[in-house]
C-alpha cells in the first residue's frame, strides 16, 4: 500500500507542478496590483476568465484557417492575453481610479468595488456569449498533437522526480520550522539566509535518503510520462515568468513599478506619473492572467463566465502563501499550492478508502488560506512590495 503511494508520487508532483504554473501566473496579477495599490483586485479572477473565453473563441474561430495547432495556440495566447490585459486596464480605469481620485480612504470601498466589477464582468461575458453563440459554455477544441503522451527519458524523469521531492520536503521542513517558530513565540519574523541554507540542506538530505530507499518504486518501468499540452503549459509559463522577471528587474518600467510600489509620492517627484505605472501594472498582470486562462482552457477544455472563481481564489491563496506583494513569493506559492492540491486530491482518496474523493481537493486551498491568515499573514517569504525578484 505504502509503496503504491510512493510510486505515484512523481507523477502526482509533476501534475501538481503543471497546475502550479497556471496558479503562479494568476497569482502574479494579484500580487503586482497589491504591490502598487495595496488593493486585492478580486476582479482578477474574471480577468483570467475573459482570457480563457477569448482564447476559446480564437481557437474555434480560427481552427479552419490555421492548420498548425502550435501556431493556433500562439495566436490564442496572444489574443487571450491581450483581451484580458484590456479588461484589466479598463477595470482600473473605470472602477478603481475614480475612487482613488476621490481620495477614498476606507479600504472596504475598493474591495466592494472589486467584487462588483467581478459580477459585472461575469454577466457581461455571459451576455456577449449568449448573443454570440446562444450558449455561454465554450469548449477548447482538442488536437491529437496536444493529447499525445511522451515518456520522459530516464535521466530527465529522474531530475523531475528529484526536484519535485526536494520541493516537497522543503515545503514540509519549512512548515515545521515556522510552526516551531510560532510555538516558541520567537521574535524573528523571517528566516535568515543561514536558516534557509540549513532547511535546504535538510531537505536535500531527506531527498537523497528517500530516493535511495525507494529507488525501485520511484522509477517504474514506464518512467515518467507527460502530455504534449502539459509540456506546452510548462514551456509557456516558464517563458512568461522569465519575461516578467526581466521586465521587473531590468527595464525602466520595472524599476518605476517597484518605485511606485515603495513610495508613490516620491516616485512622482522623479517625474513618474503613478497613474500610468499603475495602469501598466494592470496591463502586465492582466496579460499574465489571460495567458493563464488560455492554458487553463487547454488543460481542462470547458470554459464559461464563472470559470474564474475557483482558480482565482486558489491563485489568491498562492499569492498570500508567498506573501502578498512579493513577486517571487507568488510564483513559489503557485507551484507549492499546485503540488499540495494534487497530493491532497490523490492521497485523500487512498487514505480514506475512497470515502473522500478528489473533489475534496478544492477545500485544501481554503484550509491553507485560513491557516496562513491565522498563523502567518505575511506569507512564507514575507517581504513586502516592490522587491527585486
Amino acid at each position: 500500500m505504502f509503496e503504491v503511494l510512493i510510486s505515484l508520487l512523481p507523477s502526482v508532483l509533476l501534475e501538481g507542478l503543471i497546475l502550479g504554473f497556471v496558479y503562479a501566473m494568476i497569482a502574479l496579477g494579484y500580487t503586482m496590483v497589491y504591490g502598487v495599490l495595496e488593493l486585492i483586485n478580486f476582479a482578477h479572477s474574471e480577468i483570467f476568465m475573459s482570457g480563457a473565453v477569448a482564447g476559446a473563441e480564437t481557437f474555434i474561430l480560427l481552427k479552419g484557417t490555421i492548420a498548425n495547432p502550435y501556431l493556433l495556440l500562439l495566436v490564442a495566447i496572444i489574443i487571450g492575453g491581450a483581451v484580458a490585459a484590456f479588461v484589466s486596464v479598463s477595470v482600473e480605469r473605470l472602477a478603481y481610479r475614480p475612487l482613488r481620485k476621490r481620495g477614498t480612504t476606507n479600504r472596504l470601498v475598493p474591495l466592494i468595488t472589486a467584487i462588483g466589477a467581478s459580477f459585472f464582468l461575469q454577466d457581461l461575458v455571459r451576455l456577449i456569449e449568449g448573443l454570440w453563440n446562444n450558449a455561454f459554455y465554450r469548449r477548447y477544441p482538442t488536437f491529437d498533437a496536444f493529447e499525445r503522451t511522451y515518456n520522459l527519458p530516464v535521466w530527465l524523469g529522474d531530475i523531475v522526480i528529484i526536484l519535485s521531492l526536494f520541493t516537497f520536503f522543503f515545503a514540509i521542513v519549512y512548515l515545521i520550522y515556522w510552526v516551531g517558530v510560532r510555538l516558541a513565540r520567537a521574535k524573528q519574523k523571517r528566516p535568515t539566509r543561514n536558516t534557509l541554507y540549513a532547511l535546504s540542506g535538510l531537505s536535500i538530505l531527506f531527498t537523497v535518503l528517500f530516493s535511495l530507499k525507494y529507488r525501485e518504486v520511484l522509477t517504474t518501468d514506464m518512467g515518467l510520462s507527460i502530455q504534449m499540452k502539459s509540456l506546452l503549459v510548462i514551456v509557456v509559463s516558464l517563458a512568461m515568468l522569465f519575461g516578467l522577471n526581466w521586465l521587473v528587474n531590468k527595464t525602466k518600467l520595472g524599476v518605476a513599478i517597484r518605485a511606485v510600489a515603495q513610495d508613490a509620492q516620491t516616485a512622482s517627484l522623479m517625474g513618474i506619473n503613478p497613474d500610468v505605472i499603475i495602469s501598466r501594472t494592470f496591463l502586465i498582470g492582466g496579460f499574465l492572467g489571460g495567458v493563464a486562462g488560455v492554458l487553463f482552457g487547454l488543460l481542462y477544455t470547458l470554459v464559461h463566465p464563472y470559470v474564474g472563481f475557483i482558480p482565482g481564489i486558489k491563485a489568491f491563496t498562492a499569492a498570500v502563501l508567498g506573501g502578498i506583494g512579493n513577486i517571487t513569493g507568488a510564483a513559489v506559492g503557485g507551484l507549492v499550492l499546485g503540488m499540495l492540491e494534487m497530493l491532497g486530491g490523490t492521497y485523500l482518496t487512498f487514505l480514506t478508502n475512497g470515502a473522500m474523493g478528489t473533489e475534496y481537493k478544492d477545500i485544501l486551498a481554503f484550509v491553507i488560506l485560513i491557516l496562513i491568515l491565522l498563523f502567518r499573514p505575511q506569507g512564507i517569504l514575507g517581504q513586502q512590495v516592490g522587491e527585486k525578484v
Binding site: 518605476a256 518605485a259 515603495q262 517627484l269
Partner: protein, 237 residues
C-alpha cells in the same frame, strides 16, 4: 539677475489647517536662498507646494516665467525643479544605482544618464562603492547623499533641499554643506530649508524667515545673521 522661481502670496491648506498664509519669495539664477524657521512654520509645506505635492489654494508660483501651480508633481519635475524631500525618502528596496537611474526617469538618452551618474559618483564616491547595495541599508548620511544625487540625475534648473543636515553627525553636516556650496559653484540654483540656521545663513546669499506660515523677515544672509531677532530665535542668542 534673472528670476528663476517666484512665489506670489501663496496660500496652502491641509484640510482646515491654513499652513501657508500668503508666502512670497523669489530665487534668482545662481543663488543659494535659505528658508529658516521653527518647527511647524511651514518650510516643508513651502517646498511641497512648489514641487506640486500639495496644491496651493491661492497665489501663484512662477518658474522661469511660467505659472506652474496646479500642475501635478510629475509635470513640475519636467520643467526643471528637483526636490530632495524631508527625511530623504530614498527607495529602500531599490539599489543605489537603481535609485539614481529612477532619478533620471525623464531622460531617455542613455549617454546623458551615464554621464550624470559618473558626476554623482564623482561628487559622492561613497555611493559608487555601495552602488549594488539596497538604498534602505545605507547609513543616514549616505542616504542623504543618495537623495541629493538622485535629484541631480534630473539635472534640474533649481534644487529644493529640505533639511539636508537632519539627524547627521557634525562632520557629515559639514560635508553635505560643502557639497551644497560646490554644486552652487558649478552653477546650480538652490533653495535650502534648514533648522540649522547658523550654517544655512553662512552658505546662503539671501534668506527668508518663516513664522507660522508667514514670511516675517528677509534679506541678505549676513544681514539676517546679524539681526537681533533672528539671533535670539534661531541662532541661540
Amino acid at each position: 539677475m534673472k528670476k528663476v522661481l517666484e512665489l506670489k502670496s501663496v496660500h496652502t491648506y491641509y484640510g482646515h489647517i491654513h499652513a501657508l498664509k500668503g508666502v512670497s519669495l523669489e530665487v534668482r539664477e545662481g543663488e543659494i536662498v535659505t528658508l529658516i524657521g521653527a518647527n511647524g512654520a511651514g518650510k516643508t509645506t513651502t517646498l511641497r507646494t512648489i514641487s506640486g505635492m500639495v496644491a496651493p489654494r491661492e497665489g501663484e508660483i512662477i518658474f522661469e516665467g511660467q505659472r506652474v501651480n496646479h500642475l501635478p508633481a510629475y509635470e513640475i519635475v519636467k520643467r526643471g525643479i528637483g526636490h530632495v524631500p524631508e527625511g530623504r525618502r530614498i527607495f529602500p528596496r531599490l539599489t543605489v544605482e537603481e535609485n539614481l537611474e529612477i532619478g533620471a526617469y525623464l531622460t531617455n538618452d542613455r549617454q546623458a544618464v551615464a554621464e550624470r551618474k559618473a558626476e554623482v559618483f564623482d561628487l559622492f564616491p561613497r555611493l559608487a562603492e555601495r552602488r549594488r547595495q539596497l538604498g534602505g541599508t545605507l547609513s543616514g548620511g549616505e542616504q542623504q547623499m543618495l537623495a541629493i544625487g538622485r535629484a541631480l540625475m534630473q539635472d534640474p534648473r533649481i534644487l529644493l533641499l529640505d533639511e539636508p543636515s537632519m539627524g547627521l553627525a557634525p562632520v557629515l553636516v559639514d560635508a553635505i554643506f560643502e557639497i551644497i556650496v560646490e554644486l552652487n559653484k558649478r552653477g546650480k540654483t538652490i533653495l535650502l530649508v534648514e533648522q540649522n540656521a547658523l550654517l544655512a545663513l553662512k552658505v546662503a546669499h539671501r534668506g527668508y524667515v518663516l513664522q507660522t506660515g508667514e514670511i516675517t523677515l528677509e534679506g541678505p544672509a549676513e544681514e539676517l545673521a546679524r539681526n537681533e531677532e533672528v539671533k535670539k530665535a534661531y541662532l541661540g542668542g
